[in-house]
């Protein structure tokens, strides 16, 4: 594998050995590969980009080419233990729809996203420019991101949608941020469940 992202270890720790895992927007499949090597998961990726799909096939992971914006209609309720969306939620138009779908087909959802309220991003805006950083590596005119939100925004949405936050970890690069995450963290990872369910 070419490189490992620090969030792989966090996600890996949230997955029990042998689970069924669905990775939405799975890229080149390296997270799935990591999880199958370290957690022996029965994993499937969803990817609609032909180049990335090809990379998954080369990586030897199961990948299914569908457009997630259309939902996950072919997937049975509760089939997966975990449904993961790693650093892709900001590139989805139908945010509420996909969160609902993730918690329909999975017992838990794992979501990570770049925090647009990270202090360096705020600084960039104060200086008059849209932020460009390691986690937001695009210029405003070529970004695949279509939803720009913060840790605070996301948690408001979860409350509104009756989504239970089972756990949150926030990071600045690979450093865990406990205080003031909405200001100091560049990336947040969540373990989410359906409210009323015990979760895990």
């Amino acid at each position: 594998m070419s490189f490992q992202r620090y969030d792989y270890d966090v996600i890996s720790n949230w997955i029990e050995p042998g689970e069924r895992v669905l990775d939405l927007g799975c890229g080149d499949g390296s997270l799935l590969r990591h999880l199958s090597e370290h957690r022996q998961v029965r994993g499937y990726g969803v990817e609609n980009d032909p180049e990335r799909l090809l990379a998954c096939a080369r990586n030897g992971v199961n990948v299914i080419q569908i457009d997630m914006e259309q939902g996950l209609a072919g997937f049975d309720d509760g089939f997966f233990d975990h449904v993961i969306m790693s650093l892709s939620l900001q590139a989805m138009r139908n945010t509420q729809g996909i969160l609902k779908e993730m918690l329909r087909v999975g017992h838990e959802a794992v979501v990570s996203f770049p925090n647009f309220a990270y202090w360096r991003h705020r600084q960039a805006i104060l200086n008059g420019h849209m932020p460009v950083s390691k986690n937001l590596p695009y210029q405003w005119y070529d970004t695949p991101n279509v939803r720009f939100f913060t840790i605070a925004d996301f948690e408001t949405l979860c409350e509104q949608e009756d989504i239970a936050i089972h756990e949150r970890l926030a990071f600045d690069e690979d450093k865990v941020i406990v205080e003031e995450p909405n200001f100091l963290a560049s990336v947040a990872l969540y373990r989410l469940g359906r409210n009323g369910s015990a979760g895990g």
Binding site: R42, L53, A57, R58, N62, V63, I64, Q65, G74
Partner: protein, 374 residues
């Protein structure tokens, strides 16, 4: 990567079987021949064999150049040294199915019981029967387990069926431009094609060989209907549009539009070499295929005994075997806890795309096949 090369000259072989083959339609074929070709070399562990299953009008001549006719194999762009299905690594087998007209036992071969052509007396054969016959050929060639079984369209149904009939004997199945069963619309197209043949005055109840004629008009018409459904609206529009042979309407039933010319040419060409009884039998095999039938239509339950890994591929403009039909297979496999990958190739050529060499299509096949362990 090895440079892509042709296999070169190939010569078909014939295997004779004298143990009766029980058929799904009842009864059995007492003895039969299968014509096949092989490419590459079977390794010492006999672990690198790949079976390629043909579709409606295909044959055992998958790749290379036929020694007699000079014809290039129907999937030559896929199979050969350095090609996605690399014969430098794999031992590839193509076989003409039972009921075919390319040398395997079929309606136009001699019924050993009568010494005359089988004609309409050749029994109905199904996808499952074909797979059983292919398994016997594998036995004869000393192949216990295939590294992969590959097929497009009706060939994809055979690949899928292999993994259900012989779960221990297939490591990977590549199911391309296929479906878990035909829709009513798809059966309807087959029925129109069959009626064209059955109603041809020269059909003679399927015993036309004895009359020294062939139901060529019916067969040509059947092929024309098929051809329309194998192409996309866009592809046909781009290729032929409304181009008129005389540049203006001449108010005649002769060929005016280029699409008419194309369809008539394709129909007549096909009727010149293909057997009408084989066409009838094969379209029925397509119609009957339904592995979930014995499971109250529950495909997940039907796939429960499978042990293979799968690659499923469909094409965006294929409306005869639409992507949604491939997705049915994919979801059922996933819900049966099978390893499965699925690619939906954006290709304008309709159902025929599976025979073409679209770069993304062949790259996906190559990537998947490269990871097959032998």
């Amino acid at each position: 990567m090895t440079q892509e090369q042709s296999i070169g000259i190939v010569v078909p072989q014939t295997a004779h079987f004298s143990t009766p083959l029980p058929l799904k339609s009842g009864g059995a074929l007492a003895e039969y021949d299968l014509v096949y070709e092989t490419y590459g070399t079977l390794n010492a562990a006999r672990s690198n064999a790949v079976l390629v299953c043909h579709a409606l009008s295909g044959s055992h001549h998958v790749a290379g150049i036929d020694a007699d006719s000079g014809a290039v194999g129907w999937w030559d762009n896929l199979v050969g040294p350095g090609k996605p299905l690399d014969t430098g690594r794999f031992f590839v087998i193509g076989v003409n199915n039972l009921g075919g007209c390319y040398g395997s036992s079929g309606p136009n071969s001699t019924n050993p019981a009568t010494g005359k052509p089988w004609g309409a007396d050749f029994p109905f054969v199904t996808v499952e029967d074909w797979v059983d016959a292919q398994a016997r050929l594998a036995d004869q060639l000393g192949i216990e387990r295939f590294a992969a079984v590959v097929g497009g369209s009706l060939g994809g149904m055979q690949a899928l069926s292999w993994t259900l009939q012989y779960p221990e004997r297939v490591a990977h199945a590549l199911v391309i431009a296929s479906a878990p069963k035909l829709t009513a619309q798809n059966i309807a197209f087959n029925e129109v094609a069959r009626q064209a043949i059955l109603k041809d005055p020269e059909f003679h109840g399927g015993h036309y060989y004895e009359h020294g004629v062939v139901p060529a008009r019916g067969l040509a018409l059947a092929r024309m209907i098929g051809h329309i459904t194998y192409l996309s609206d866009d592809a046909m529009g781009q290729k032929f549009g409304r181009t008129l042979r005389h540049d203006k309407p001449v108010f005649s039933y002769d060929v005016e539009f280029e699409i008419e010319s194309y369809l008539r040419y394709q129909g007549d060409k096909f009727a010149g070499f293909f057997d009408a009884n084989t066409y009838l039998l094969t379209t029925k095999a397509l119609d009957y295929y339904d592995p979930a039938f014995d499971y109250d239509g529950d495909l997940v339950a039907a796939l429960g005994r499978a042990k293979a890994d799968y690659l499923v591929v469909s094409f965006s403009t294929d409306w005869r075997f639409a992507p949604s039909r491939s997705r049915e297979i994919v979801y059922a496999l996933m819900h049966s806890d099978r390893r499965v990958s699925y690619a939906e190739i954006d290709c304008p050529a309709g159902h025929d795309s599976f025979l073409l060499d679209d770069p993304q299509y062949h790259a996906v096949l190559r990537a998947y096949i490269d990871n097959i362990e032998v």
